[in-house]
């Protein structure tokens, strides 16, 4: 018996001729006639500034920083270009490659352009917010006016924030999803982030080094 099966649609014959891909060439002249070109710089509200952001993740509104609603808080560092973990100090690099590899490898494809440090303040709320304390990750466009950033990835669960930029702030939703034993059914979270400075990757490096030390102690507790 499968746990929590998903049912993909059965394959059927599709109407290939009418599908949109085939129209591309046909209306090339329409696009040309309309002066179609790459998107020009958009309104201010659509711009995301790379930087270091203070981030709050809440159940309900994030406006008051009410401890009753705050699920996690921390720092989110968005950079303008991707890098590899090889440029990091050895201890931090080893931590990310050993213990947070699914974010670094499966999500960021070994080319992260963001990192985060989160403190999980509440649990048991049906949210994976802050379950990963520190990680290298990827931020990328989501639809036409938002960005998406993964903050957790395990074999069977994930957490993504979808954020829309507004005047130096990012506001949006946090989405938890899991599967089989990790299935969750909570509501979406609110996410609020405001820029506090230029991208500062060292925040994540220091946090990873601290986590590595704590993990080492936890894996080999002193014998009584």
């Amino acid at each position: 018996m499968r746990l929590n099966p998903h049912h993909l649609a059965s394959h059927q014959r599709i109407r290939t001729r009418g599908a949109v891909w085939f129209l591309t060439g046909a209306f090339c002249f329409v696009l040309a006639a309309c002066g179609f070109a790459l998107r020009a710089p958009g309104p201010e509200s659509h711009r995301v500034n790379p930087g270091t952001y203070s981030i709050d993740i809440c159940r309900g509104s994030c406006s008051s920083r009410d401890p009753e609603t705050l699920l996690a808080d921390g720092r989110l560092v968005l950079e303008a270009s991707a890098y590899t973990s090889s440029v990091l100090p050895a201890k931090a690099r080893d931590y990310f490659e050993e213990w947070v590899l699914l974010l670094l490898g499966a999500v960021a494809k070994d080319r992260p352009n963001a990192c985060f440090v989160l403190n999980r303040l509440r649990s048991g709320e049906g949210s994976y917010a802050g379950i990963e304390k520190v990680g290298l990750t990827l931020w990328e466009p989501h639809r036409a006016d938002s960005v998406r950033v993964a903050l957790y990835q395990s074999p069977d669960a994930s957490y993504y924030a979808i954020l829309r930029p507004t005047d130096g702030e990012l506001r949006g939703r946090g989405h938890s999803y899991g599967y089989a034993d990790a299935a969750v059914n909570g509501p979406q979270d609110s996410v609020y982030a405001h820029r506090i400075g230029p991208p500062d990757r060292s925040i994540c490096i220091r946090a990873a080094e601290a986590e590595a030390a704590a993990l080492e102690a936890g894996r080999h507790p002193p014998r009584p």
Binding site: M1, R2, L3, P5, L8, A9, H11, Q12, I14, R15, R17, G18, A19, W21, F22, L23, T24, G25, A26, F27, V30, C34, F36, L38, R39, A40, P41, G42, H46, V48, N49, P50, L78, A80, W99, L102, A106, N113, G124, S127, Y128, I131, P141, R143, A144, D145, R148, S154, P155, D156, Y160, H175, S176, Y177, G178, A180, A182, L215, G218, R219
Partner: protein, 307 residues
């Protein structure tokens, strides 16, 4: 150089919204980078309702000529080197321009300017792509369709198509009729890896020792208590912002009990994946009341200490 352009397109009248395909694109020698470097080209095209109509990606030569060629294919102006189209003097980045190395293009399928794209003109009927006679890449490769695309399996019903692949360079898994990746018995190498990972689990913490013991019980029950799938598993997940999620391992069960199932690729590359699933099995075996995020949180916390 022939690049494999992977894409997805919206389809009508189906229980799934997207279909995935591949098309070969040939770049002549004159358009190749002398140093052999390539860059990732990604395109997202929106319809009038803000919906993604199609998405495509491929590795192309890192030259202006190659970028211009593929931009012509998609009826877009050639993007600039580095992919930071829209980047401004103060370092701001348009959200449509992924801050990754590569070339990212956002277009409107039917004209307009994202996010304000036009709807499909009603007078546009079925039509094939019209390729310029002097552009061999426009019709190069591909199988069944006149525009060179070979369309494969249907996708899900999420709001966006999935990423064309998972970045590992391997194909999607082969799926059962139910939509799940076909799993198979572990081979000797996979069983050895699982066995080594289980036997290497720490004994110093009680939870780790117990999870290890239960996992070793599975080993003694036989190799059929473990399965793998090959190829990446990006599955429809309505709650995911992309409409899809990637699965890397999970617990399943049959009449004999639990089965731990892994993406074979990550089984060999990720240190905690076996411990993670072994810990889910442990919580199940002790009838833990922990569910959902509480279950996953505990497993995540322990997995790093146990692995």
């Amino acid at each position: 150089m022939v690049s494999s352009l992977k894409g997805s397109r919206a389809v009508d009248g189906q229980s799934y919204k997207y279909q995935y395909g591949v098309r070969a694109v040939r770049f002549p020698q004159s358009e190749l980078d002398p140093g052999g470097s390539t860059t990732l080209y990604r395109l997202v095209s929106y319809g009038g309702g803000g919906e993604i109509v199609h998405r495509a990606s491929c590795l192309i030569p890192n030259t202006d000529a190659a970028r211009a060629r593929i931009a012509r294919m998609f009826r877009a102006s050639p993007p600039t080197r580095g992919g930071l189209r829209g980047k401004e003097a103060d370092g701001g980045v348009q959200v449509q321009s992924v801050p990754l190395e590569g070339v990212d293009v956002t277009t409107c399928m039917y004209g307009g300017e994202p996010p304000h794209c036009n709807y499909a003109p009603p007078w546009l009927g079925d039509s094939d792509v019209q390729c310029p006679a002097n552009d061999p890449s426009c019709s190069a490769g591909g199988g069944g369709d006149p525009d060179g695309w070979s369309w494969g399996s249907g996708g899900g019903d999420g709001s966006e198509p999935p990423p064309p692949d998972d970045g590992t360079g391997r194909p999607s898994c082969e799926r059962e009729a139910s939509g799940w990746c076909k799993t198979e018995a572990v081979d000797a190498r996979e069983l050895q890896q699982i066995t080594e990972r289980i036997n290497a689990m720490q004994d110093s913490l009680p939870e780790c020792a117990e999870a290890k013991r239960y996992a070793q019980e599975l080993l003694t029950q036989g190799p059929d208590r473990f399965q793998v799938w090959n190829g990446y598993d990006v599955y429809p997940e309505p709650k995911s912002p992309t409409g899809f999620a990637q699965r890397l391992g999970y617990n399943s069960s049959d009449a004999k009990g639990r089965i731990l199932i892994f993406d074979s690729y990550w089984l060999f590359r990720e240190r905690t994946v076996v411990a993670h699933e072994a810990l889910h099995n442990y919580l199940h075996r002790i009838n833990s009341p922990l569910l959902g995020d509480a279950n996953e949180t505990r497993v995540r916390e322990w997995a790093r200490k146990c692995a």
